[in-house]
């Protein structure tokens, strides 16, 4: 482990069709942390992690991973895209998808070998999908598809992970299984940045939170930044609905 921060962002601005989505983002992420990225829809959460991996053109500023540009350290970075971003009718098996996580370490012309398959199997075991290894990916539930992506990320054996809403559309059991795996990765000293949209669970799950709404509203230990004022600033007017619900629940008087 180098002393370099796994992720350092300086004055990052990203725009779609000249409309800025993120501006002036500055961030230094400490290693070995499980970090939640939260913010309203359109806050640029997905944009931020895509920009970190060079998937989007950057207007200004820079991103360094382990002190280097992304291309130099690509094999140390793992990625879990949104489940909806791929075609689940694609003619591949669960095993094939998990093995894709190994491609970054295989050179040209090299096929995944026995060691890669064994590793893929152990990753599937961790997300409780080993019995499904030879299934066509279309024949999986949403939660299972999400766990396939997680197994693939495990197979990447990265030091830094970007995950785009890994909890979206999964059942409670899957959510518990996923968070257990994320914590295990964190305990191994890896750094995880997870886009998340559920505020109550964000508080339990993450060591640190990045509150994002086009720029960084706050970044720090969850206990410090999970405050009504900062959340209000992140979500703007939209949080009033949430806080009304919370107050109603607190008064043991569910709305309606």
């Amino acid at each position: 482990m180098s002393a370099e921060s796994p992720l350092e962002i300086h004055d990052l601005t990203v725009a779609y069709h000249r409309k800025p989505v993120l501006w002036g983002v500055d961030l230094v992420v400490p290693a070995g942390q499980l970090i939640g990225i939260i913010g309203p829809n359109g806050a640029g959460k997905s944009t931020l992690i895509k920009a970190c991996m060079g998937l989007l053109p950057v207007q200004s500023g820079w991103v360094k991973l382990f002190g280097q540009p992304f291309n130099k350290v690509a094999t140390r970075v793992g990625y879990v895209p949104q489940r909806e971003s791929v075609d689940w009718d694609f003619p591949v098996s669960v095993m094939d998808v998990v093995l894709m996580g190994r491609y970054g370490r295989l050179g040209l012309l090299r096929r995944p070998g026995k060691a890669d398959r064994d590793l893929a199997r152990s990753c599937l075991e961790k997300v409780q999908l080993l019995p499904y290894a030879n299934r066509q990916i279309a024949n999986l539930s949403g939660g299972q598809q999400q766990r396939v992506f997680l197994a693939r990320a495990l197979a990447q054996q990265a030091d830094l992970y970007f995950m785009d809403e890994p909890f979206s559309g999964v059942d409670a059991a899957t959510e518990a299984a996923i968070i257990a795996v994320l914590r295990e990765l964190r305990d191994q000293g890896r750094t995880l940045l997870v886009v998340h949209h559920d505020l109550p669970t964000a508080r339990q799950y993450f060591d640190r939170l990045l509150l994002l709404n086009m720029n960084v509203v706050a970044f720090g230990p969850t206990a410090d930044v999970y405050t009504p004022e900062l959340l209000q600033r992140t979500y703007g007017g939209r949080l009033t609905i949430l806080s009304e619900v919370a107050q109603a629940l607190g008064a043991q008087e569910p709305p309606r």
Binding site: K50, M53, G54, L55, N71, A74, T75, V77, G78, Y79, P81, S85, V86, D87, F90, P91, V92, S93, D96, V97, M100, Y103, G104, L106, L108, L109, R111, Q136, A138, N139, S141, R152, F162
Partner: protein, 324 residues
Amino acid sequence: MTSLIPPYDAHAVWVAPWTEQLSLYGWIAAMGFAVAAACGLVGNYLMLRRMALMGDAVSHSVLPGLVVAFLVSGSRSTGPMFVGALAAGAAATLIIETIHTRTRVKQDAAIGIAFSTLFALGVILTVAFAGQIDLDAECVLYGEISFVPLEPMVTLGGWTLGPEPFVRMAAVAVGVGVMILVWYKELLVSSFDPGLARSLGINPALLHYGLMATLSIVVVSAFEAVGAILVIAMLILPGSTASMLTTRLPKVHLLSLLHAALSSVLGVSLGIWLNCSMAAAMVVAGAVLFGLAWLASPSQGLVARWWHGRRRESVEQPAPGVGV
């Protein structure tokens, strides 16, 4: 009815082309297979990437490329024609990319704009320089696969490889096969999940343009044999049929090759029986195979669905609408 459907002579349709007339129909079937194999393999990736209509775009844009190449070089020899058609294919790809990334027009509409405009340009050029160009509209549309056996034979070290267009097409097909073997991983991951591919250090844009260049080469080589329209069927039918029968990419490729072989052989027989364009008959044969696969597919087939539906009814337990 005899006037509509020619008399059916089993010997002439099924036996003669592969025995006494093999030197004629054998090469036509071989050419059909080479075209459909090369097209089918490239087409599999077009379909996986939801870009099936890019074949349309490239095949139609070939026409102005051919005309311009002819006007510039003043000859109809293969070299300049090939370069012209390739350049036109590249231009079509670039125009589509530019329109769909720089404006709000989506890719399908951009394809519609690019290929029809380029084809129209080709038509205007053909008419404007009609005195100088000997381009047969029928050839542009349907190709001239029946003329393949009449082309000069290519020999290498005493071995007769076959008529020149077939040798060229076969080389292209083998080239496509080798490319898929070499870049199998990269093509797979960038087609399935471009974001992951990029994060793995693979450049999806480079692969995209490589695939488009390959598509142009394949379409241009196939153009003379099957024309601008039928080549689209050759790109899409083998893979569509294969995906009815399997859910693994390597098997999709193998079944596409089988489809290519069957449709070219059956197409020759059909073409002899109906006395029609061989290329069109091959496409119809391929479409019939697609229909059969749709009927008989174990997972998505009409027969299998009907059978499961009937069994479900007999158990008298209408299953709740939960996905598999």
